[in-house]
Amino acid sequence: MTDTWNDRLSEYLDGELTPGERVALDAHLATCRDCAATLADLRAVVDRAAALLPRTPETDLWPGVAERIDAPPTVVPFLTRSRRRISFTLPQAVAAGLALMVVSGGGVWVLNHGGRTTEAPLVEAAPQTGVLPVSFADPRYDEAIADLQQTLQDGRAQLDPQTVMILEANLDAIDKAIDQCRQALAADPANLYLHNHLAEARQRKLALLRRAAEMVNKG
């Protein structure tokens, strides 16, 4: 069911309603089970996003910066440069690192929270005809999974073959759960339960792969 307050719940949660609107919505929430349930779902998503650990930038800028600081200064006439070279001052590098963290964290928040669309997209994308599931496109997650899978692959010889078989069977079980969730989401893309459930299944896979990687490293 949709009512006039339903699409204001996100603003409510973000504290963006006027005091009068807030009072009115509070009164509405006391009588509307659907809105109360949707609000609880939104809170759960926000809580999950808040619980995410900060991610360190995948590209560590410091070694390059330090190298340039330590290197003897070289003067290259501007017009004779054969190739364009981008360099950073230390403050710029720090700012770039911070920006990367903010963009990364913000991206995660938006993916999980459902942010507002911008009129100036950073990249060109095919026009969207519906609600895209949150977790379908998360390159950082995919990279982390790929890295850990590679670690497991590289370290297979460090583990007992039966242990590897058990790990892979359980990873397969999680993958099947993820696939079932994705298929359900394809048919029901706005389903909050499915979004949460998919996120949990993916976290479970990440946790198991991390555990496997730890076992390999302890080898």
Binding site: Q162, A173, Y193, A201, R211
Partner: protein, 301 residues
């Protein structure tokens, strides 16, 4: 080399039951300990059995091959028990250790079977291929295995149990319980927990026990069933969700019908004053709430 070592250790660990006396003890040592000290045992393969007593001493009895050397180091705050091979891999070691009941215990290994009985302090046990059995433990009790079963009885405090592929059983325990598996079942009976967070992909989760007022209980699976045996006079708010599973109960819960539970829709209902929170979620499993016991009768699931 490593593969050979693993194969050797496996052969040694599997060829004989852990409790069978393989040969005469090679290490028999007692060290005095001060209150506050911790006990750590690293054992690549074999068995670690820890009992407790009221003496401020740690007694280590270890059975192992002659080429294996057991080392007991006591720096005043940690008693570290480990083994190494004098020529090549260490092989398996079976420990029978007696420690003060107050002493926190930590044991890790690969092909390692662990039993801790009577601890009245923190217990941490982590193995890859082996069962973990803990009787007692207070404060923080952690039991993890990848391929083995996990069995915790009479623990109090923060209890964290995890088995990837085998079953988990927690009995007569209280406090805050966290249980996780992928394919293994999770069974909790005789519980007096104030919070439970149990999740599995395909394993069935069973809970029988008290529901504390203001407690938090969360049970979540993908395809596994959720079976709860609950007291009749409980005060709880149930939040129930399933995408394509089923729900049944003999508790007087209102508004939880097939129509309400369509495709992951959240259904909330209360018993009594609703003070405890019970969350039940499964993608495709069954949710069954019963008075008293979770199982309807013997032999039926």
């Amino acid at each position: 080399m490593l593969t050979a070592g693993i194969a050797l250790a496996l052969t040694l660990a599997q060829a004989q039951p852990p409790s069978s006396p393989r040969e005469a003890p090679k290490t028999d040592e007692t060290v005095p300990v001060q209150r506050g000290a911790r006990l750590t045992i690293n054992n690549f393969a074999g068995e670690v059995v820890i009992h407790t007593w009221d003496k401020d001493q740690v007694h280590v009895l270890a059975r192992h091959q002659p080429r294996t050397q057991v080392t007991i180091r006591n720096n005043g705050t940690v008693v570290l028990v480990s083994a190494s091979g004098t020529h090549g891999p260490q092989g398996s070691v079976d420990y029978d250790i007696t420690a003060p009941a107050w002493m926190p215990i930590r044991t890790e290994g690969t092909y390692n079977f662990v039993t801790v009985d009577g601890a009245q302090a923190e217990v941490f046990a982590n193995t890859i291929r082996g069962d973990v059995i803990i009787k007692g433990g207070t404060g923080s009790v952690t039991a993890k295995s990848v391929e083995g079963e996990v069995d915790v009885d009479g623990a109090r405090g923060k209890v964290n149990v995890n088995s990837v592929n085998e079953k988990i059983r927690v009995t007569n325990s209280s406090g805050e319980i966290t249980a996780e598996s992928v394919n293994g079942t999770i069974t909790m009976t005789g519980m007096d927990a104030v919070s439970v967070d149990a999740s599995s992909v395909n394993g069935t989760i069973t809970y029988e026990g008290r529901i504390a007022d203001s407690g938090h209980y969360s049970f979540e699976t993908h395809n596994g069933d959720l079976l709860l045996g609950l007291p009749e006079n409980l005060n709880a708010t149930f939040t129930i969700r399933t995408y394509q599973g089923s729900f049944s109960t003999d508790l007087p819960l209102q508004g939880v019908g097939r129509n309400e539970l369509q495709r992951g829709r959240r259904v909330t209902t209360t018993l009594g004053n609703g003070s405890a929170e019970i969350s039940l979620e499964t993608f495709g499993g069954r949710i069954r709430l019963r008075r008293g016991t979770a199982q309807p009768q013997r032999g039926k699931s």
